[in-house]
Subunit: 526 residues, 2 copies
């Protein structure tokens, strides 16, 4: 009956949220040690000049570098890219990006405009990341996740015409509250609800669902106070409001637009969310201010070898200097994504190697579209937030900054992950992806073609230095998560892929903090 099942929706939410809970509900529970972040890590004891080589200057590597150096270690970081951050990455106007296969894009946005191809929002309950932003003085501003005036859209609902999320939500809530309140009132739930609770339950449903004294959800000024009016209240003469028609209950249910109502309700999307002022990469810039002096950029690791005496890493200078170099250390924190590490010559243990080579990576695509003006604000009164659609672009996210400004602005015109859509986008050239985003987006915003100025498209399977957007654990036990996070002689791996919060920066940081605290314990206590 419905091709967009609850399962696929939960999958969508789960991946969007990066929440492990969806996929791993069957994972054995009961690990005793809490890994919640409760404040800056304390690494007591003198490491006496122990050297740690850190591979990768994404957030996991940067965290390790910052904390280990502060604890007295000698630290060296090797980074493939020309700058720090990894997937904590912002494409600014003028930036160039060449994907696997050679397609090269220059970001032709107006000065100051940008798009975050990777992480783009910070839950306020990602405590470690929030704390690093505070410590590193990265100014945060609200990321508008929820906008009731944004659209929900399905091609098979309401003749393909987008509807305002807040109206669908208010009417859905009203209709189901009415059904339940009437059932309780008619005694149909006397077995389930105790006599003393019935009146209060009905009272609560009247509040929650905006029901009238007869427990009915009807067209009225009261319901319009929640869903919006036919004519808004005004001032002076002829200013009385006119209530709006409700959606028919059957229409709301059959439209399936209720599927988008839960997206912003997950714990990781609890309002408010945040973003760094100026782009996500400002976090990496702030880290690099602290530890940039120990990072070697343009260093492509080709070999990672360890023995009982230490670690030897061979790397190529791809920054123009050329040549092959060797770095040695007592220990290594390896934050190279398993998608890349599996292609590097290494002598890690068989168990870890098996996990490395068996891990698949999500293939997300993001398309940034710059338009000549903020028509979503000026024409549609949508200030930030997200419209959802069953088109392959899945959503359109409007900028959470620069409200009401004139001139060009950038929105996120597509955000796909996993599944058929991701593969489709992968197979396209960047120009084709942008065309797809325009073709689908104009069903929601007919202004698209007229106002389009420039686009940039990043398909993560084609990002040369990670080949995917995040590691996938289909089955942590079968794939050997518990083994993979252990210190493997002198090497410990870390990153979002070694956490229960994959695809989120918090997972990378918590994984790194856990890894270095165990490594430190080994160094100090043997």
């Amino acid at each position: 009956m419905t091709q967009f099942t609850r399962r696929s929706l939960l999958g969508m939410i789960g991946t969007a949220a990066g929440s492990s809970a969806m996929y791993y509900a069957m994972t054995a529970m009961g690990h005793a040690a809490p890994s919640d972040y409760t404040g800056p890590i304390k690494l007591d004891g003198d490491p006496q000049g122990t050297k740690v080589l850190i591979l990768g200057a994404g957030l996991a590597g940067l965290t390790a570098a910052l904390e280990l150096r502060a604890a007295g270690y000698e630290v060296e970081v090797l980074e493939y890219r020309e700058k720090a951050g990894g997937r904590c990455w912002t494409l600014h106007s003028g930036d160039e990006y060449t994907e696997l296969g050679g397609d090269r894009q220059t970001v032709d946005f107006a000065e100051g405009n940008y798009i975050n191809p990777g992480p783009w929002r910070i839950p306020h309950n990602h405590y470690a990341l929030m704390d690093y932003c505070k410590r590193l003085k990265v100014p945060l501003e609200p990321f508008v996740q929820t906008n009731y005036n944004a659209f929900v859209h399905r091609s098979d609902a309401f003749d393909g015409k987008p509807q305002r999320m807040g109206k669908i939500l208010t009417d859905y809530r009203g209709h189901v509250s009415e059904l339940l309140a009437k059932a309780v009132d008619q005694g149909k739930l006397d077995e389930e609800v105790s006599a003393e609770d019935r009146e209060l339950l009905i009272e609560s449903l009247r509040s929650f669902g905006v029901l009238n004294g007869d427990n009915a959800y009807v067209k009225s000024l009261e319901t319009s106070t929640y869903r919006g009016y036919e004519k808004q209240p005004g001032g002076g003469v002829g200013a009385a409001p006119i209530p709006s028609d409700l959606y028919d209950p059957q229409q709301v249910i059959q439209s399936q637009l209720w599927q988008y109502l839960a997206v912003h309700e997950t714990y990781e999307h609890w309002a408010p969310m945040f973003q760094p002022v100026g782009g996500m990469e400002e976090i990496a810039v702030a880290f690099a201010r602290e530890v940039g002096d120990v990072i070697t950029y343009n260093a492509k690791v080709v070999s990672l070898q360890q023995d009982d005496n230490g670690v030897t890493v061979t790397w190529e200078d791809i920054g123009g200097g050329g040549g092959t170099n060797t770095s040695t250390a007592d220990y290594c924190v390896c934050t190279i994504p398993f998608s890349i590490l599996g292609q590097i010559d290494h002598n890690l243990s068989a168990g870890l190697s098996s996990t490395i080579s068996s891990m698949f990576y999500n293939g997300s695509t993001k398309v940034g579209l710059e338009f000549k003006r903020r028509f979503w604000e000026q024409d549609d009164q949508i200030y930030g937030g997200i419209s959802y659609t069953d088109e392959a672009i899945t959503q359109i996210s409007y900028p959470s900054t620069g409200y009401q400004s004139d001139g060009p602005a950038v929105l996120l015109g597509a955000y796909t992950w996993r599944g058929a859509n991701s593969y489709k986008f992968n197979a396209m050239t960047p120009a084709e992806r942008i065309e797809w985003a325009l073709r689908m987006g104009e069903k929601i915003h007919p202004q698209y073609r007229e106002e389009f100025k420039a686009g940039v498209a990043v398909s993560w399977h084609k990002v040369p230095w990670v080949l995917g957007c995040s590691g996938i654990w289909e089955d942590r036990e079968a794939q050997g998560y518990d083994e993979a996070v252990k210190i493997d002689n002198r090497v410990v791996c870390a990153g979002e892929h070694l956490s229960y919060i994959p695809a989120w920066q918090e997972g990378a940081i918590l994984s790194s903090l856990d890894a270095i605290s165990r490594l430190h314990d080994k160094v100090i206590n043997g």
Copy 2:
């Protein structure tokens, strides 16, 4: 059974929202002329030097001054205060304020800190105000209305311990969804729900309420994905999440904390909301940049007289110069609140006079509290948004800016309106109001006493130039709204009190635009 009835809640929401719908649902409908704002006003035709005297430089008066001058009128504005804005007012550190009765407060906040005693948030659907902010280049930032991690609190629920709003919401939604899904599944609603819709309705409730395959809302990683975990997912070793216990359904219903769930769901509170960077008064500052040259400040109007030839206003210079002055004009836009206008000598028509003298004004109190540090962020992970309580302070609103900054910060520690609480606060000295806010607020934040630094309290009934926070229409028909908004010979009144959006700046602007467009029509077309 419940002292906090739906009626009182709706009253609370209605007044908080400033929504007229709650109070005036019985008002006769069907006025034909839409007063929705659809863009800048157009006043075509040459007024040929006609002079308009505008009384009051709040948002209604400022709007009239800006638009009438642009249309070619000679404009003069008389303002009681020493600056523009009226209730669009920000108390900055160092400001002084003396209320009726002589109590004088100096705002002892740290440099840059402020509180808005009047309007403090802008709905994105207040189109006129949003447009003036755009035209006058007032930068807006999100006002965080909804914070799921903020508290809901009642002294008689959960032993008086505040609970996180998001947990109450998730569990309430889950429990009621389960009740309805099971009733539908058991055939109890076969008369109300058609056979073809039943399956889809149940599917929607599973999504909306986070129900499992048995239509049950149970403790699980899935429900924790929405309500938060016992132990959050982490990184590395021992990082698996642990699900959280649910509130018992009966506990949720009986707690009545569901009463706070609807507050941020009204149309005027639809996410996102906005605030001007630096305080609400920045809007007045921007208007004054445009029309400040025609405003006479410190001008206390003592008489408003009109005849067939024009308008004569007598006013006293209370700015130190002293003396009584006279201003004349062809017409007058009078935005003086009726609470004040009723005390001024005037010869307005009997009908209008009757309305003026019969209008009561809301008596809201706001208390701004400055604390040494942002303990609500640092200790409680609440970044902006509002906690609700059944204490007389009704709510605590955390700052929507300066997130994670060190040093003192200001929150809104009380916001009362109408009813017994307002009168209680009115009768107190400012110091007593602050003490009350501390005593009640510390039930939610025990850190209050330890961290308190300074406070300022504004009770609107004691604000000398308005004597209330907004005009109340108990019954528009009986009180003569339609007569009061008409042009009275050469005088037309405007302001939030002459709108269907009382207490909101949008009401003041729309009322003013409506008034001046009718006035202009009279000038041009006779």
